[in-house]
């Protein structure tokens, strides 16, 4: 752009072309903005590089066998994380089943005119506040409220229905069940929030069309609203799953930190994140390499799940808009 266009002699306008200094400052500032954006991308790359680099000796030593064996024995330098991978996936899937049910129900409750607008806002805040409670506080609450509350139920189930693999062990204290319950509570706000967005994106005329054909409210929800919102709900479940996989502190406090593979809800187990939390602070140099390998495995799982979730979400919002 040339400067002449701006130059209207004798005019009182405050418009003027940018000076040379301002153009330089503009270039510099844009450079800085680009650099800080680039830094975030670089940070992810550096995280992968740094954790990968630290894990390299362990990868070279153990190869893929590390991922398929269930031992953790620092004395004999014998390590494998199959039990932790199992615990991570098992606890996250169970928690997601519970949180998915409650989360979608809450989303329907808040978006399909069950409450008047002001009450709905209060209720939405209650669910959002759950997301604000720190993980350690949930862990503490789990130890002193959830475990004592479910222990009698768990032991009753074990006594009378012990032949079912889910209830095959008695519950002594920390274990899969309290961990799953607390995990579900922590994932619930994520699922509820994203599902609500999915419902709110549906144009009002879709619902009107359904009502106009004489459906009851529930028929409209089940046959029209749920299918229309399904891709958004799917995204909420995948992102909730990602959150569950990486949740650390509450699980480290509740799951019992014992690397065993069991279907039982009441036996102690372990997850990748809580293995890191419990072993890292007192690990020797060799064990740190193994833990970095475990971190890399967690990173790989979380990255895949999060990328899938982000892509589904991008696709579903495009779909609904168009």
């Amino acid at each position: 752009m040339s400067a002449e266009g701006f130059d209207l002699k004798g005019d009182n306008s405050i418009s003027r072309p940018p000076s040379r200094g301002e153009i330089l400052a503009d270039r510099a500032f844009r450079g800085i903005a680009y650099a800080s954006g680039g830094l975030v991308v670089a940070m992810l790359a550096y995280i992968l590089w740094e954790i990968g680099g630290q894990a390299a000796p362990a990868i070279a030593r153990d190869g893929l066998g590390f991922l398929t064996r269930a031992v953790w024995n620092p004395q004999e330098h014998d390590f494998g994380i199959l039990a932790e991978i199992w615990g991570t996936l098992y606890s996250s899937i169970l928690a997601l089943l519970i949180a998915g049910f409650f989360g979608v129900a809450v989303a329907i409750f808040l978006t399909q005119d069950f409450l008047d607008a002001r009450l709905a806002r209060v209720f939405r805040t209650v669910i959002e506040m759950l997301a604000a409670i720190p993980s350690v506080v949930f862990g503490l609450w789990g130890i002193y409220v959830v475990i004592p509350a479910i222990r009698p139920v768990a032991n009753w189930l074990h006594e009378f229905l012990g032949f079912i693999p889910l209830f095959s062990t008695p519950m002594a204290g920390p274990g899969m069940a309290p961990a799953v319950i607390v995990l579900a509570i922590m994932v619930l706000p994520t699922v509820a929030a994203i599902s609500q967005d999915a419902f709110q994106l549906i144009p009002y005329k879709v619902k009107e069309a359904a009502y106009g054909m004489g459906t009851t409210r529930w028929e409209a929800i089940q046959k029209v609203m749920l299918p229309t919102a399904s891709s958004g709900i799917a995204a909420s479940l995948v992102l909730g799953f990602g959150r569950a996989l990486g949740e650390t502190m509450a699980l480290a406090m509740l799951i019992g930190n014992s690397g065993q593979i069991s279907l039982s809800l009441f036996s102690p187990a372990n997850t990748l994140a809580s293995l890191l939390a419990s072993q890292f602070p007192e690990a020797g140099a060799l064990e740190v390499e193994q833990l970095m390998y475990a971190a890399l495995a967690l990173l790989g799982i979380a990255l895949v799940v999060n990328i899938i979730g982000t892509l589904i979400m991008a696709m579903s919002s495009k779909q609904t808009v168009s």
Binding site: R30, L39, V40, I51, F114, S135, V137
Partner: protein
Amino acid sequence: MTVIEADMNRKPDVPSLDHSFSDPRALRNTIQTVLLWIVALLASVPLFSVLYMLITRGGARLGWEAITALPPAGLEMGGGFGNAIVGTVVMVGIGALISVPLGVLGGLLLGAIAPSSRMSDAVRFVAKVLTGFPSILAGVFVYAWLVLGMGTYSAFAGGVALAVRMIPTVMLTAEQAVRMVPQRMKDAAFGMGCTQTQVALRVTLPTAMPGVLTGVMLAVAGAAGESAPLLFTALFSNYWIGSLTEPTASLSILIYNFSGMPFPNQIELAWAASLVLVLIVLVFNILSRLIGARRV
């Protein structure tokens, strides 16, 4: 099918507009509505249970000594978590010092300077992926980078780990806020010969400020409650913070450590510390809502 029977009992051409419970469809609708109410109320139980426990068990112990004294050893009585409050504040401060400038600049890039460039798409995607990242990996990363590099656990490493968690939140909310600024305001400034920088700093950013601050408050609230990134970056300390390059206490790690101890005194303190932590987090959360609400 019962639904069809009910339909056949009606007179033709006169749609029944009654809402009778003998109609299986209406009955089913009512039952499902009641069930939904029950499920929704159940979903709100945990929050109230947590708050009740915090107030009764934490509130009982909360006092001047609890928030100013040093943590007690083993069977010692009394004590508090003053150093942990200071440590949390210092480390969240470091996290904010790093993440706010980076996040806001990144937000300006995504929302105003180059909203649809390939660079921005990449940055946005990475930031979204990072928000869902396991928080403990921030700790592992900073451990590998700074703790091994500096040879010591430190408040600085803890602050950096928190910053890794805060940057995506600040950046993505800043982007949203910047995008809300009406195009005609920016056009007016461009029309007077402003450079992009001048528009971004003098028009876009001040207008978007409430939204940007909302994101900052949310990030601070989240960081204050984080524990996994601090676990092996800041570690813990039983003493007051002396410098940024030594192990430092934080509320969340204190709760984690004390929750597993067999001493009632420590467990009481863990509850009191939880109450303080939740209060800090809630204050910043409410601040973010207030600032955010002013915008609309």
